[in-house]
Symmetry: C2
Amino acid sequence: MDRRQVKTRKAVFEAFVGLLEEKGYPDITVQDIIDRADIGRSTFYSHFEVKEDLLNVLCEEIFAHAFSKHPAKEVTHDFSERDGFKDELTHILYHMRDSRDYIRSILSSESGDVFMRYFKDHLREVFGRCRPAVPDGVPGDYAMEHSVCWFAETVRWWMDNEGYSPEEVMGLFCRYCQLQRP
Amino acid sequence: MDRRQVKTRKAVFEAFVGLLEEKGYPDITVQDIIDRADIGRSTFYSHFEVKEDLLNVLCEEIFAHAFSKHPAKEVTHDFSERDGFKDELTHILYHMRDSRDYIRSILSSESGDVFMRYFKDHLREVFGRCRPAVPDGVPGDYAMEHSVCWFAETVRWWMDNEGYSPEEVMGLFCRYCQLQRP
DNA sequence: TTAATAATGAACACTATGTTCAGTATCTTA
DNA sequence: TAAGATACTGAACATAGTGTTCATTATTAA
């Protein structure tokens, strides 16, 4: 990729994140971004179609990173399976903690909805592999939504309640959600 | 209130709800509303500051209605307390079911976030009175968020999964959330 | 060195917003 | 039912942001 493009993209994202920290997403205009990134108007539009693209790309980036697997902790089978998933989720929490500043500003406005949607989509994939306990008579997708939504909401709660370690948060989450089958 | 004002407000809300059913909230412009309600531009602005006002008022209306207490089922004390809350929640579900069409279109776009926020705010008040079971070592507000978020998400799930009665949904919810203290 | 590619910025058309105001219609109440 | 208050109308206007175009300049990769 051309250095110039890389430089431009970087400037845009830095401007965007900076703006996110000082005003809500809906109040940010393309003009703001252009001014702050100090690039030409046409340059912006040659990189992105609309403002929403930025948010999407940013979310994709955050989650691609947070949900990346570290080979050392690959799931094998049987007993270790539950701990494998627990580790995977804890790993995600570590990433979330490190991006707390970004995430808080994203969550504090309309853009939070987009963020949560991405988050849940990724979580569905993870919990789809994990398949937590489903009580009798409960529709599978409803049970799935419980795990997914509650994990996402747990993170949202955590972002506003500092002072808990990822492991502690994981412990809290597990009080409401059994990760192994009955 | 002047009949003319009532008529105008009604026309605006009917237009707004109609538009909500055929396009997403962010795509609706003030112009659309004016055209559909068939009122003058300046009339709209003498009633509302911005488009967001409409959504807020609409949500307030939906929830004021859904959370209104019916005197017959007032909570008394002790044993009946749990059932009282259960009835209250089921009552809310009935209202939600009746407004399903509105609610689905609100939920299907950015406006869903606003809706969910109002919903949760009202639910916090209800669950604040109910005080569901809090497991040892779990922060009170975290436990509260579980009840609140999960009830709201249950409704969101239900809106897209027809075929369950309010009582059945309440039953599902209770599989994940104890309404009485341990 | 050079051909390809990217960035610039000014100009432009367009869409939606929100305000103003003089004129008209409709209400209330005396 | 007449009079004064209040609400609606619609056209005109200023403003702001969007997204496009294009000739020019700068940077890059080979």
